[in-house]
């Protein structure tokens, strides 16, 4: 028995190592000499959702380099203090505390996901330091039944805003009267989008003919698609992540389902195309920005990003980039460079021009901006339009 235990113990340690090895990237930026502004970067750099955290941080670091190269904010250089939450919410709270009490930052950017961001907000309130997430989309991140959370901000729109936009698009573009919903039961993002879509669609006189759910990492959608096929509907709403959505799209098209498929920003990955292959047709999704956007600001960002990272930026990169510039803008306008000063300036932001659109901060601390619809038309060509 003991020997078995020792063997298993060794296996355990090995597993822990594997789990830890998903991290990567470079060490912390060294504090440059002179007068600097400390800004915390508290992200998932390893673990389950490291892809989002790392993508956000790439955008943030690029923006900070640009700001510093252009002379900084009020002549002061921005010093990013970066930590890894390991995709663990308790660790996010711990590190936010460290950034606010020991590293004396004026603002903390991140984490990327809603749960982790919510876990840092009580600490933000206690220390009066704003937390700004580039991609925490759950509705209750910035506001709950007690009202708006004073020190919580984000630069993306919320889940319900996105679901509503998708429903309106379905009616406007496809004159949809009947829709089916297929959502992911293992995450709240998918549920939030589906709920908002259902509400808006039915309020507009439409009907949800059928609704089904799958679990994370599902790869066989034939049963549910066959069920959908037997019914009469105009669009499929598929608010999930690209890993499962790509397979679902391919299997739906293989079965001969020809109706348009709508989704959310979770579709935004080249993996979607890899999974769906030539069947990626008549698929549209709500997104934060489109690389097709001809706006010079966007094209400049894309060129600079490509030069640095050798790949097209995705929405997380763009949101991270915008968030850094948004925070720097507020620090520049703040009456005093403290958490409270920056909080006031953030809340007063009007018509901030970012690569993910021009936005203002509303009374619920959400960034109000236009949704971009990105999609692949019936021929499979990439299209985009602003909503």
């Amino acid at each position: 028995m003991k020997r078995i235990l020792t063997g298993l113990a060794a296996a355990t340690v090995g597993l822990a190592m594997l789990a830890g090895c998903s991290g990567g990237g470079n060490g912390q930026a060294q504090a440059p000499a002179g007068d600097t502004i400390n800004i915390g970067v508290n992200f998932e750099l390893s673990g389950d959702v490291a892809t989002y955290g790392q993508a956000n941080v790439q955008g943030i670091e690029m923006a900070a380099e640009e700001i510093n190269a252009a002379g900084g904010v009020d002549g002061k250089q921005i010093n990013l203090i970066k930590y890894d939450t390991k995709s663990d919410t308790a660790e996010a709270t711990t590190l936010a505390t460290k950034l606010m009490t020991q590293d004396k930052v004026v603002a903390v950017i991140g984490p990327a996901t809603s749960g982790a961001t919510k876990a840092t907000l009580p600490v933000a309130g206690q220390n009066k330091i704003p937390v700004i997430s580039p991609s925490a989309t759950a509705d209750d991140v910035t506001v709950d039944d007690k009202g708006v959370k004073e020190y919580a901000f984000r630069t993306c729109y919320s889940d319900s805003f996105q679901g509503t936009a998708a429903a309106e698009y379905a009616v406007k573009k496809f004159s949809a009267k009947k829709a089916v919903i297929l959502r992911d039961s293992s995450n709240d993002y998918s549920k939030g989008l589906a709920d908002a879509f259902r509400t808006t669609f039915t309020e507009g006189g439409g009907e949800i003919v059928s609704e089904d759910a799958y679990a994370k990492a599902a790869d066989n959608f034939n049963a549910v698609m066959t069920k959908f096929k037997g019914q009469e509907f105009d669009v499929i709403y598929l608010p999930g992540y690209y890993t499962e959505a790509g397979k679902a799209i391919k299997q739906a098209r293989d079965l001969g389902i020809t109706q348009p498929i709508l989704g959310g920003d979770g579709f935004d990955s080249p993996v979607l195309g890899e999974q769906a292959g030539a069947q990626l047709k008549d698929v549209y999704f709500t997104n934060h920005y489109s690389s097709e956007d001809q706006d010079p600001k966007v094209q400049e960002f894309i060129t600079a990003f490509k030069a640095k990272h050798n790949t097209d930026p995705n929405a997380f990169n763009a949101l991270g980039y915008d968030t850094m510039k948004f925070v720097a803008d507020a620090v520049g306008r703040a009456s005093e460079q403290t958490g409270e000063g920056v909080q006031k300036a953030l809340a007063e932001t009007k018509d901030f021009e970012g690569v993910t659109g021009t936005f203002s901060v509303d009374e619920n601390h959400n960034a109000v901006k236009a949704v971009v619809f990105v999609g692949y038309d019936q021929g499979g060509a990439l299209v985009s339009e602003k909503g």
Binding site: L5, V13, M17, G20, G23, N26, T89, A138, S185
Partner: protein
């Protein structure tokens, strides 16, 4: 006899009370600042988790991969009850309910599976934890994948101290009791234990349920300190994290679990300035420690203040020995 009891009480309680008071003063003087307090909270939670898993895996020899499941039950009970009755009684009620529910689930799972010998229990507990996580993800009242927030924060240094010290002491007393000795006998040799009249299934189930109870308590401590709980926090990797502490400290050493919880928190904190390579260095350190101490830091020995007088006596004996010679 009376004298030694007094001495024992002093040996045990004096350092404990002193620790409590000193830390409390340091917290109030803000020498232990907010960040160190969060780290201390994590250490306390990890101590209770590791000590309770050590009872199951280290002392009773049942390899469990489902401790995060018990933690989840405790966390959700505490969160749900204290969110409804936002008072210290709601918190304590939820904590207790969580512990009892976890013990009940442990009992129900343990009864059929612990009759088996070998590593079946590892698979069964892994399955149990996954079932718990997926149920929490799909129930309406647990708010699905989004989890529960904000959970009212009642945990402070006093509660952490009481719950951590209390849990470790109760587990340690159980191990020294008749039932605890039975459990150790089962670990050493199940057939031999059975042949001398130990009811092996009963011993295993009892240890499993008690371990589950304290796993639930640790979950409640977590929920009431870290504001947000989500089903995904209590996945397989959380169970592995706890197991790492137990194995590192030494299977069958409670003080080893305590030391490992501190050591891992210190390593983790020291590595925080290197975000990119942090988890790689952490894993490397674990590998190095396991190569040099394959039995864990303390093996199955215990480190306690009681050893001090023993050292003293040994020195006396050595001294008198030389005199005689």
């Amino acid at each position: 006899m009376k004298n030694s009891l007094v001495r024992q009480a002093l040996m045990l309680w004096l350092p404990l009370v002193a620790t409590y008071v000193i830390v409390l003063l340091l917290v109030q003087a803000n020498i232990i600042d907010a960040y160190m307090q969060v780290t201390l909270a994590t250490i306390c939670i990890n101590i209770v988790l590791a000590a309770s898993l050590n009872l199951i895996t280290g002392f009773t020899g049942q390899f469990s991969l489902g401790h995060a499941g018990f933690m989840a039950i405790g966390a959700y009970s505490t969160a749900l009850v204290s969110m409804r009755w936002d008072s210290v009684f709601g918190f304590l009620g939820g904590l207790l309910l969580g512990g009892v529910l976890a013990a009940l689930v442990g009992f129900l799972i343990g009864l059929p599976t612990l009759r088996l010998r070998g590593d079946y229990i590892a698979i069964a507990t892994l399955g149990m934890a996954e079932i718990i996580r997926i149920l929490l993800q799909n129930f309406e009242f647990t708010n699905g994948a989004a989890g529960l927030s904000p959970v009212p924060q009642y945990m402070d240094w006093t509660w952490f101290f009481i719950l951590t010290v209390g849990s470790v002491m109760l587990i340690s007393n159980f191990i020294r009791s008749r039932q605890g000795r039975d459990a150790i006998a089962v670990r050493e040799d199940e057939i031999a234990a059975e042949s001398i009249g130990v009811n092996t299934t009963r011993s295993k189930v009892l240890a499993f349920a008690i371990g589950a109870f304290f796993g639930g308590i640790a979950g409640g401590m977590y929920a009431s300190y870290f504001y947000v709980i989500k089903p995904e926090q209590f996945g397989f990797l959380k169970s592995v994290d706890i197991l790492v502490i137990v194995v590192l400290g030494g299977l069958g050493s409670l003080s080893g679990s305590v030391i490992a919880a501190f050591l891992l928190a210190i390593i983790s904190t020291l590595l925080q300035p290197f975000p990119g390579v942090r988890m790689i260095l952490y894993a490397l350190l674990l590998i190095i420690i396991m190569i040099f101490r394959p039995q864990g830091l303390l093996g199955n020995r215990e480190l306690s203040l009681r050893l001090l007088p023993r050292f003293g006596r040994r020195r006396e004996a050595a001294a008198s020995g030389t005199e005689e010679a």
